[in-house]
Symmetry: C2
Subunit: 200 residues, 2 copies
Amino acid sequence: MFKIYGDIFSGNCYKIKLLSDLLEIKYEWHPVDILKGETRTDEFLQINPVGAIPVLVDTTGEIYTESNAILYFLGRGSEYWPETVELQTRVLQWMFFEQYNHEPNIAVARFIERYLGLPDERKEDYLSKQKGGNRALKIMNSALSGSKYLIGEYPSLADISLFAYTHVADEGGFDLSQFPAVQKWIKNIKRLPNFTGMEI
Amino acid sequence: MFKIYGDIFSGNCYKIKLLSDLLEIKYEWHPVDILKGETRTDEFLQINPVGAIPVLVDTTGEIYTESNAILYFLGRGSEYWPETVELQTRVLQWMFFEQYNHEPNIAVARFIERYLGLPDERKEDYLSKQKGGNRALKIMNSALSGSKYLIGEYPSLADISLFAYTHVADEGGFDLSQFPAVQKWIKNIKRLPNFTGMEI
């Protein structure tokens, strides 16, 4: 059975759980507490030198890191990875957008608010994330105004990747009611068979 | 013929040129000047709503963005994309590492120094990038101490992706002599047949 090391309230970790549940892949969940420094211990750095979660350990003991690479590993043979190189490239395009434009704004703002309790010394940083986060949500809203899912009429790894932090963006101070196509898309994903939320 | 919109001194754009040259893919290069605001004009935002380069336009007029997704589009059928899902996942792992841990530190420090001339108001930002950049280089150095290329004995899209900003990291204040395995790897890539540098 696969082992997943993660914090279920981290969107990057939740992505892996959500895809596994959707595909009915069995896994053992190993909780890791970021705030207690558990990703920076010598033991953990042996597993992942980047000091980040999630980490997936497959049945042969091989270790995989980077949430979106793990989504590929688990989802490549499924309906969440399309068949043509053109659509595959679109999926990757959205996943790189997620790690570069979306996560560093929305996930970080949420971390400062939800995990750290919005302390004064992080307020400037928090506010600077609002602009970039809203820009990312606007780009998603525009794409989703024309289609049910990010790359067309069927859900893909791109949706799983971007759903994780988007559906809890309000916890980072973002107002999703400004992005109606995103709200509709969140409802569509929540209706997928075997969908599960941020709990173990 | 493919069209590539880019700035050749941007590592993200150079990646696309380098892979195209290695694979002898023909392209028309359309220069875009970031400093003149050419990525934020209404006309350009129609092409890429994210307002970033590179952009690839294929022979049918389809538009692709995100440098590492474009590498996949161009390289998927070549020897730079390995055959097993395990190695493919490793390639993606390094490419997501590049966009999350490497580029935001090394490329941004280089931009501040080389493009902006290290103005006083960006000095704090510049210094904060040194720590993360050196950490990324250390992780690469450790991986490259055990193998010729990032995922083993053959070059892959992971190497093209990470070579782009690494080989000019000195322009962002990084001292590559501290990372001998990285220096050796740079030499190996420069010896690949059809290798070309940052010029058109």
